[in-house]
Amino acid sequence: MQYQADVTIELKSGMLDPEGTTIKRALEHLGYKAESVKTAKKYTIDLQAESIHAARETVEEMCQKLIANPIIHNYSISLRELQ
């Protein structure tokens, strides 16, 4: 089966997000009031797996071994079957 995973990597709460802070300030210069801006990265991974459960397990492993740094990041995975 063919699956597609969207992996979102975010900084853990409480960590400095200087890019987000800079964007927030720029929004304020434009007259918008944003209470906070946080940056995140999204990776879209297409993969073959036996089942959606197996696909999730593989993507979890990818996150733990490479895509996220557990010291500073939280990650979330959104998975769907491709037709």
């Binding site: 400095l16 200087p18 800079t22 490479l66 740094n69």
Partner: protein, 231 residues
Amino acid sequence: MSIGIVQFGGSNCDLDVLHVLKDVIGVDAELVWYKEENLERFEGIVIPGGFSYGDYLRAGAIAARTPIMTSVKGMAEAGKPVIGICNGFQVLTESGLLEGALTTNNYPKFKCESTLLRVESTDTPFTSKFKKGDVVSIPIAHMEGNFYADELTLSSLEDNAQVVFRYVDKNGKATDEANPNGSQENIAGIVSAKKNVLGMMPHPERASEDILGSKDGIKIFESMVEFISSQ
């Protein structure tokens, strides 16, 4: 004695380190392409600065997972000295050889400037030529040098005297103003629990000759060479 200098695609301080080791200090040193896995001929390793893999994913993340790093880990476990400078420090934290992580500078900009560092520990293979409390001038050049570790890790680094260099002002005080990147506790360099792996954001190879304005950095390489000779 020979010291290996690991080259990844995107390393750019490799030749500077080679020059300091070979021409300034006069020891045998050799560039090692990252595809090589046999490092048995080396007594020490330097992972130089640069932008390995274009800083894709995270600075140092991809380089940390190349096969040569498995060999570097083996050397570190065997007690051989390993230094990671700037991007090399990022590679060492990403590979798990050093604790913590290096995140985006608190002012999110590439910073290239002279910094003053206080030597916090001389009980390492890299700092034996300093005196504790020495304030030395070694420049930085990075965008992701903001050292972060959780509280437990941070206190164990402090308790075990693993913090080796701290950013300070000219009076030797670790102030916020002297901190160029927002690093916790003004940390500029740390060693592993066994003290034979050093990671530091400042570039000692850029402060190793009078013509560069500071020779303070050369003591790090000289300490390493002396340590290797004493083994």
